[in-house]
Amino acid sequence: MSTDQDKRRILIIDDNDAIHNDFKKILSSADPASSATAAKLAGAKAALFGGGGGGGGGSDVAAKRSAQPAASRVAFRLDSAMQGQEGLAKLQAAVNARDRYVVAFVDMRMPPGWDGLQTIQRLWEVDPDLQVVICTAYSDYSWEEVSAKLGLTDRLLILKKPFDPVEVTQLATALSE
């Protein structure tokens, strides 16, 4: 099993609690209790159906997937911030502790504090290598306006709400490699 230090750190900045929960559901590994139950069952299945070390039943995809959850999926450590300022503080702490975030998901509208663009500008001042995904329910800014404010960069992607869990997983995985 991977330790916490191996997991990639992701920072989520959004003023909506529900969105934070969504990210957790998509990117977090299963909770320890259910993992234990699943592992016990996996062992029992192996003994019963003869799936042993060699992985007996070739057609038994489900069993295989649930038996090796950590190996097929990248693990993440998620941190939540409700406002841009709070997110910046967390990023600063992470940089100071030499335990950087690799990806930040930033909402565009987060009243009353900084909006997404402002937040991203501040984040990059602290950590220029941070990959950023802007999440927005509708476009306050056109791509041209965003480029004009933040410059043309390959460290910025846009994710439209409502998003697909697969998109989020893909983005988190690809950007953290």
Binding site: D22, T37, A38, L48, A62, P111, D140, P162
Partner: protein, 650 residues
Amino acid sequence: MKTNLKDTGISGLVTVLVAGCILSMAVVAGFYHVALGHVARSAAVSSAESQARLRSSYALIESLSLTQNALQSLLREKDPDVLERLIDDLDARQVDLSERIDGFGASGSAVSQSFGAWRTACKDIVATFLRGENAEANSALVNRLMPESEKVLAQVKRVNDLSAREADGRTAEMSASMERLRYRAVAAVAIAATLITAGGLALRRLVARGTGAVAEMLGRLTSLHAANQVLEARVKERTAEIQRSNAQMKAIHEASLDGVLVLDADWRVIEFNPAAHRSFNCKPGAAVGKPLRELVPVENPASILGKPVEATARRLDGTSFPAEIAITAAAIDQGPPLYVASLRDVTERKRAEAEREELNARLVSASRHAGMAEVATGVLHNVGNVLNSVNVSANVVATKLRDSELSSLTKVVGMIREHKQDLSSFLTCDDRGKLIPEFIADLSDCLDQEHRAMLAEVSTLAQGVEHIKQIVMAQQSLARHGSEVNAPSDPRKLVESALTMQGGSLEREGIEVERRFDGCPDSCAIDAHKVLQILVNLVTNARQAVRSNADDQPRRITLVVATTEQGTLRFQVIDTGAGIAPEHLTRIFSHGFTTKSDGHGFGLHSAANAATEMGGSLRATSEGRGRGATFTLEVPLVAEQSVRGELCQT
């Protein structure tokens, strides 16, 4: 001139005589009797001479007066024959005067000189008169001269009468004194001398006054001539002024951008200026003689004098154009009235007005759409967020179902079916069969866990769906209200809708909502769409204002609905938030003004517009930054009773 006469005239002679008398009296003072008799005689002679001279002077004045009269009659006369006679008469009188003055001898030379000047002036007047120039001016001159001259003559006569009377009196008195003196001693000589001196002085004064009056009249005649000249110059000046004024009037008439129509008493065109020709698209003169009603059909032109009215003007070719016309009666003392009409082609203005109205309508519509867009944007944002959670939950449920351990159960059930015949031995003796009961227990735990997780997820999903449903319902009610303006609505429901459309952010952000609906009517006729649009805006603003409050500050929004004494319905949204700086209180309603980083400055602007459209008002009050704000929307409440009545019937 008066002073000169006094020094050198008759009075001078008198003075010399009197002085001589006094001197001779002084010389013969010693010879009382003889000398006194002589003095008395010589004094009497001197007095008589003085009187004669005075009479002569009076005759002179009389003659002068007659001459003056002759001159006046001459100036008045128009018949050439009579005129000739009058001129002869005047000449004769002047000759007579001349002789009389010559009779004064050396002492009359100054009078003669003055008379010469008077004569010249007189000749000038006659000459001017005879040339026929300025007949009016002359007539005026004479008219003015008449009372003046008569007044002067009356004065002269009065003065001369007085002097004659006084001179007689004095002479009689002096003679009596002389008689008395004859019987008196030396003292009487002094008294006599004094009396003679006094008498002489008085005489001198009297004569001086007589000659002064003559001089004054001569002076008046001279000034008469001068006045005549001034008058002539003035007439020339006036004529030039009138010509200039006429030219000016003509230029105004020509240059005027408005059509000017001069009309006679029968409302027919006498004159048309170039602008009128342009407006009516006709050649100069073509409209002259046309009645006004053919060009501008005005019901009763006399009734609209001085009042500009709008009318449809008709061109000669039959086309028409909108015009504004103002008619004035020209101020003329005599003769039939004259009217001047000023006419302006208002085609351009009418078009501009129509364009402006259309533009206004478009602006109103645009602001309404902008308001709707504001609502839609909020809805989109909220729905987007909730939909995100719904989507994730659905995905989680799908994944869990796909990865469900249900398949393991199926497999175990399959194994059990295979060993249906020897199930007990399979479960107790077979190596794999012995593992089954334990496996089923584990599987049950796992499935239970799955089940609970999925239940939780489905519950989240249902919540999300319910949430979206609420937002959509609020949006639908908004659309329904929009189609039915002024339909009876419950103000409380509008407020609740506005709160619902915040999409649960109020609860999430820990904002306390207080409702005070005590004075709220159950139903009233208002434009629910607009009111809701405004309330959504105000509640959103209030929410954003209190959100930034520190944790120890209350986050409260109070909603008040009540009817006012003025018969309006008042909605108030009171927050305990950031407040408004005094300098921003009025600017917050202006287009494009915002204090929010993500605002576009259209919300309050369109809200205020909507309030005005309803005939209501939207006001903001705040005690300053950090002290909260109160927004008050007042809308007219029309026929609440009738609305209730309708509700009862249906």
